[in-house]
């Protein structure tokens, strides 16, 4: 039966398709081809339908009727019949697009992790600097790194020869320690050549000439700057705070300093040579939360435009997607006693990352204080909201911090005091649960934890 059955099935399918095409030609072109042509197409179409539905189906009859209908359709088909390569492929792309839109809207949506707030569970964008003069991998090596790790290669040539002037700004981190950062401005740029997006622009000076470096908005170039311009010095805090006496300083005050790089660059040669490795890309399940309530420990994605604490100083909502771990349900009381997070008086359970954070194992840093969550304070989650925290607690801007710093809306403090949900995730803003890391091909590939 196998092969014979297959060919019969195929013939039936082809015949059926031709019947549909005839219908399409009639529907689209009946006013142009005239009644007589429509009638003759109808006649041949009906003959084919009869041949297809005859029991048992006679292959020879079907083939003959298909040939007749084909001959009849050809002069009247216009751009619909015979099917051209172009129209067939356009249709295929459209069908694929419809499927993709359907799947993305209701079932699985891809999401790219921008920052390292959930590290080491999920990695955000990371940079790898190539020491100047040693050169980057070959084109084939770069292609391999692009495919496996999503590494984009950046080379910025020096506009002049000499040492690079690097500006650093001083501030304090979440725990109050002084830190140094290379300042940047936000400029508009392009993504995939057409989509407009925002980028970070870092500016350095070489011999009076500006040297601009544009990177994705969420990428911090500071470690690359430290590795490239101060190769033996460790990180930028060491360069600009602890060991500042070892470097040449042009200007310095409490808020900022301008340092000269340890090495010189040559005009036309690379001044910065580095790769940006893409953040983990994962699928978010948009379906399950329509039927099941989110649980503590779920890595979940939510929109931020209804979170007051994330509004800019002028009140503009922050319209982004964030991924954090759900640590508090409505009614829960949370408290941090570094490195442990307590939920309703007990160490929190529900995900492996909690335990690893308590023990500070596998690069998990342990839970720390930030913003509203300080020593001895507790936070109670109001009805209709969730509490979100990142696994990389000291470097995660989450429910502990939203609205508590100078960058947020000035009303956040008053509203928080008045008991308004400034720093919680509204239930309606939850998009779904992270389920699968599909790219890049690292050890994290697989089910999302």
């Amino acid at each position: 039966m196998g092969l014979f059955g297959q060919s019969k099935k195929k013939l039936y399918k082809e015949g059926h398709h031709l019947v549909q095409l005839a219908e399409k030609v009639i529907n689209y072109r009946s006013d142009v081809i005239g009644e007589q042509a429509v009638a003759s197409i109808r006649q041949d179409q009906q003959a084919l339908i009869d041949a297809l539905t005859a029991k048992p189906m006679q292959d020879a009859d079907v083939q003959r009727c298909m040939k007749n209908l084909d001959t009849c359709l050809k002069p009247h088909g216009g751009t619909i019949y015979p099917v051209t390569f172009l129209s067939e492929n356009i249709e295929m792309v459209l069908v694929a697009a419809i499927l993709a839109i359907g799947v993305r809207s209701f079932f699985l949506q891809p999401f790219k992790i921008p920052t390292n707030s959930m590290y080491p569970t999920y990695a955000g964008m990371t940079g790898e600097a190539y020491p100047l003069g040693e050169g980057a991998p070959s084109k084939a090596g770069q292609l391999f790194r692009l495919i496996t790790k999503g590494a984009s290669h950046y080379v910025v040539d020096a506009p002049a020869s000499g040492r690079v002037e690097v500006q650093v700004a001083y501030g304090r981190d979440a725990t109050g320690e002084p830190i140094a950062q290379v300042p940047y401005e936000i400029v508009s740029g392009k993504k995939f050549l057409v989509l407009s997006t925002q980028k970070r622009r870092y500016t350095f000076v070489v011999n009076g000439q500006p040297l601009h470096v544009e990177v994705p908005l969420d990428f911090d170039l500071t470690p690359i700057v430290a590795q490239s311009f101060f190769p033996n010095a460790g990180d930028i805090n060491q360069v600009a705070i602890q060991d500042i006496g070892k470097h040449q300083v042009l200007r310095r005050n409490a808020n900022q300093a301008i340092l000269l790089s340890d090495n010189s660059v040559t005009q036309g040669e690379p001044a910065l040579d580095f790769d940006i490795l893409t953040g983990d890309m994962l699928f978010v399940d948009r379906f399950s939360y329509n039927f099941f309530r989110p649980e503590v420990g779920d890595p979940f994605v939510f929109r931020t435009n209804q979170i007051e604490g994330l509004r800019a100083a002028d009140g503009t909502p922050d319209d982004k997607y964030y991924i954090k771990r759900l640590v508090g349900l409505p009614g829960d009381t949370l408290e941090v006693k570094p490195p442990v997070l307590y939920r309703n008086g007990e160490p929190i359970t529900g995900a492996d990352a909690f335990e690893k954070n308590f023990n500070r194992e596998d690069l998990y840093p342990g839970y720390s204080y930030m913003g509203w969550m300080t020593a001895g304070t507790t936070e109670t989650v109001p009805t209709g909201y969730f509490y979100a925290m990142g696994d990389n607690s000291p470097f995660s801007y989450d429910s502990r911090g939203w609205g508590s710093n100078a960058m947020s809306t000035p009303y956040a403090f008053e509203d928080k005091r008045a008991g308004l949900p400034v720093n919680f995730v509204p239930e309606k803003e939850v998009v779904g649960k992270a389920v699968f890391i599909f790219y890049p091909l690292t050890h994290r590939w697989g089910l999302a934890e």
Binding site: V93, V103, P110
Partner: protein, 50 residues
């Protein structure tokens, strides 16, 4: 509060159902090769994070 007109909702549901059936109908005529191509393309589009 936003209220939805039941008639509008019904016609939208009808439209959605028709679109789904039409897409399935088109795909039912595909050869295995073409079906594979469509699925690969759809998965690629699904994975594209814009």
């Amino acid at each position: 509060m936003l209220t939805l007109d039941p008639q509008l909702l019904a016609s939208f549901a009808g439209f959605s159902a028709r679109s789904i059936f039409r897409t399935i109908n088109i795909m039912s005529n595909y050869t295995l090769f073409k079906l594979k191509a469509v699925i690969i393309l759809a998965v690629s589009l699904c994975s594209l994070s814009l």
